[in-house]
Symmetry: C2
Subunit: 153 residues, 2 copies
Amino acid sequence: MSGNEHNWHRRFRNRGLRFTEPRRMILDVLGGTKEHLSAEDIYVRVHREHPNVGLTTVYRNLDLLERMGIIAKFQFGDGRSRFELVRSAQKPGHHHHLVCTSCKKIIDYDDFVEEEIELLNKVENVLSNRHGFRITGHVIQFYGLCKSCQTNK
Amino acid sequence: MSGNEHNWHRRFRNRGLRFTEPRRMILDVLGGTKEHLSAEDIYVRVHREHPNVGLTTVYRNLDLLERMGIIAKFQFGDGRSRFELVRSAQKPGHHHHLVCTSCKKIIDYDDFVEEEIELLNKVENVLSNRHGFRITGHVIQFYGLCKSCQTNK
DNA sequence: TTCTTAATGGTAATCATTATCAATAAGGAC
DNA sequence: GTCCTTATTGATAATGATTACCATTAAGAA
């Protein structure tokens, strides 16, 4: 834990930024869940421990962390952005979600279907060449009804 | 054109809905472009011809048309939703985009990479089984820098 | 401990989208 | 064509997420 703390600290300092309490808290919250939290979700959890941290600060830092490539931001169509820590194990920029259009539950399925990765690389190449894009990331989202929402219908 | 008009009319009437002027206009606008227009974009274009059509009506009908499966709604991360006519040629629910994170230009590449479709079906099956989801659609978005944004940097 | 300035937090402002509600107009029946 | 029911509209207000402002606070290097 403290080793990580030190890494974070260095990562911020390298850019002339400071590793502050709110930033530590936000990273803690995102690091401790697999959910896709909204800014307000994060605010509530941080605020629970540190009631002096404001919502504005949470927004500001989420934005910063995204620009630093430490977290990723998604829209699942419910009007608010959702955030996820980019874990070093998985390639940054790769995010695969399964979204229930009824209850809004979100499942990550990043960890399987290797073929998918292979195809993605292939498609990335074709698209890069054909359109002159330098591709930095992608999002794959499947929409549908989860099991319980199918029966409760 | 008039044949299409008749089809739309029937499609609405079947649900007890009316085929009104604003609806016709919105479908015209979306049918006449390959861009991914926002609600306001659409409003401006409709309003140009029919200055009496209000923004609320545009929003309301975009929502209706989406629920009818006639148009699709996307978020590309710029804070506003964008809409696209679901052309019958392509399978509904399949939408593949290439988004420039700098100038926000969006390219559809729906019409090639057949392998992709094949893999998607495979993945859909796996996900359906493994998570009990009934999958209704998906979105694939690649992010990157378009050619001109790479050089202007 | 001191000092510079990045960062904070409360409040107001903005922007997209939605709710409200009286007025309007599709389109089937006649 | 006219009438009538009611889906639809449009203006305005309200909401909800996110951002701008700005005086105050606190990292962290010296």
